[in-house]
Amino acid sequence: MAEVAGRTRGMGELIDVADKASDFAPFGRELAALARERDDIVGLTADMGRYSDILPFRDEYPDRFFNVGMAEQNLIAVAAGLAKTGKVAYCTTYSVFVTRRAYDFVAIACAHSQANVKIFAGMPGLMNGYGATHQATEDLNMMRGIADLTIIDPCDAVELRQVVRAVADIKGTVYVRLLRGNVPVELDASYRFVPGKAQVLRPGGTIGIISTGYMTGRALDAAKEVASRGVQVGVLHVPTIKPFDTAGVLDFVARYDRLIVAENHKTTGGLGTLVTEAMFDAGVLKPVERIGLADSFFECGSQEYLEARYGLDLPRFIRAIMG
């Protein structure tokens, strides 16, 4: 059986996994590279610089970096103000804090004005062992309620680096689920992220997995694992949650009799809801199994323990595929 990709340390930092390539701090290093090309890039954090991988940018451009301290509402307001003077403001904190605490600021100070604020939100979903205070298990549900907001859930380091650049050219406010630390490389170098487009990473098979974010790596691992048992599985990766690629998803759905939707998020209000809603609206009724989290608060513990306990680990995928 393949190793489970991307285990984490305490602060959502992914650690190297045997047999899997990784890329250290891809967000901050790519942002620093982008800032060398564009002087309109600024960076902000709310006392989460170290834990969001933005320090490579700060070290290279200290004059363009603002740490507002533990004040997430102010983080978003200051970012909006910078954007309204022509800057592209990249800001970082944890997903839980920017969504639950600063929601109104994202909606009104940023999205309503289509301000060029790019929020890189650390530890999305169940990526931290500190319990519910640090686990953003409903962030996709919350954020997709905001009009004129783009939402992206990258799956690996290759995609994350491309997203860092792509969002600079997306007009308006963008919420990105951030992977940090030694972020696994799941995609090959030929992959091209296209905003708003779902992408077939593994075609064919009799069962289709539709996944987003960190769970896409696991879907690919599961597909490889069951292939050795003679079961073929297709994988559609949906990095952009909003705007949702309804046509791309329905096209994939049409090729399969049975589907699995996987996300590092509650099974309600995120990708599972979007996929089933799109299917229902199009009059497509097929069996769909959702891999994701229950509507609950979750306890503390190691990443491996939590994923196994709450059903995000590789065996959960295998069970869903094998039926």
């Binding site: 507002v68 200051v78 910078l82 309204k84 100070a109």
Partner: protein, 284 residues
């Protein structure tokens, strides 16, 4: 008589007349709908006249001019005052006044930022000052001389985010930022009852160069704005004690001044009261 920067008594009189014109415009606008946030607007008329016709560098023909001074109205429901000053300055046609607060109007009761001259969506209270800090940082990064002026109400001093922004303004040394605190003593549920005072001491303690004035005293406003020009590494705060309904005695005396509904007959009474207090100077 002249101030340090050469403002004469005649200039002050002219600014008073400008403020009077803004008050006339506000009554005209509110009479169309029969209601509105008139009292706060009247209280802010002097400040807005001093900013738009004396202190700020701006160009109504080019509202997006990169080097303009910015004015942020954080308290979005003071919109009536904003529309009055934008029209008086030439950003807006007075012919739109009767549409204030009506369906489909460009002049909603709480401001959006799609009208030329408006910098932010106001109204979700507590969001203005943080954005002003961001704008001040952005202008400084670009090496521009432009400054940022941000109105904040005393009600908004009850939002934690306002104090977060106060900390940031001082932390980042935003000496191109002037916060104008409109302390008029009223909010939605009545008189301000939350323990805010001493506002001046608190804001000073947060690292801002602060001054407290009568916000309906034009000479004091002009002087305070002049003092705010100094670039000493500290953000500036002007705590303005304003009178809701200023210039219209009927409204000054009204206890429930947050949102007023007024009968057709009363509008004429208020116009007459305002006109009776018209400043004596003639327009230059």
């Amino acid at each position: 008589m002249m101030t340090a920067s050469g403002v004469t008594t005649t200039d002050i009189d002219m600014l008073r007349l400008r403020a009077y014109d803004l008050r006339v415009a506000m009554l005209e606008m509110a009479a169309g709908k029969g209601e509105g946030y008139v009292a706060q607007g009247l209280g802010m008329a002097d400040c807005l006249a001093a900013l738009y016709f004396h202190e700020m560098h701006h160009d109504p023909a080019n509202p997006d001019w990169d080097d303009r001074d910015r004015f942020l109205l954080s308290t979005g429901h003071y919109s009536i005052a904003m529309y009055a000053v934008l029209a008086e300055a030439g950003y807006l046609d007075r012919a739109e006044f009767p549409s204030y607060g009506l369906n489909g109007s460009r002049l909603p009761m709480s401001t959006f930022d799609d009208l030329p001259g408006l910098e932010i969506v106001g109204g979700s209270l507590g969001q203005g000052l943080g954005q002003a800090v961001g704008m001040a940082l952005g202008l400084r990064l670009d090496g521009r001389e432009a400054r940022v002026f941000c109105e904040v109400s005393d009600g908004e001093l009850q939002e934690g985010s306002t104090w977060e922004a106060l900390m940031s303004g001082a932390t980042f040394g935003c000496d191109n930022l002037v916060a104008l605190f409109d302390c008029n003593g009223v909010q939605a549920d009545g008189p301000v009852h939350v323990q805010l005072e001493p506002v001046l001491d608190k804001i000073s303690a947060f690292g801002w160069s602060s001054i407290e004035i009568n916000g309906n005293d034009m000479e004091a406003l002009v002087r305070a704005l002049e003092v705010s020009r100094v670039r000493d590494g500290k953000p500036k705060a002007i705590i303005m004690r304003t009178q809701p309904g200023s210039g219209v005695p009927t409204l000054e005396k009204r206890e429930r001044a947050h949102f007023v509904r007024i009968t057709d007959e009363e509008w004429q009474v208020m116009r007459d009261e305002l006109e009776a207090g018209r400043p004596g100077a003639t327009r230059g």
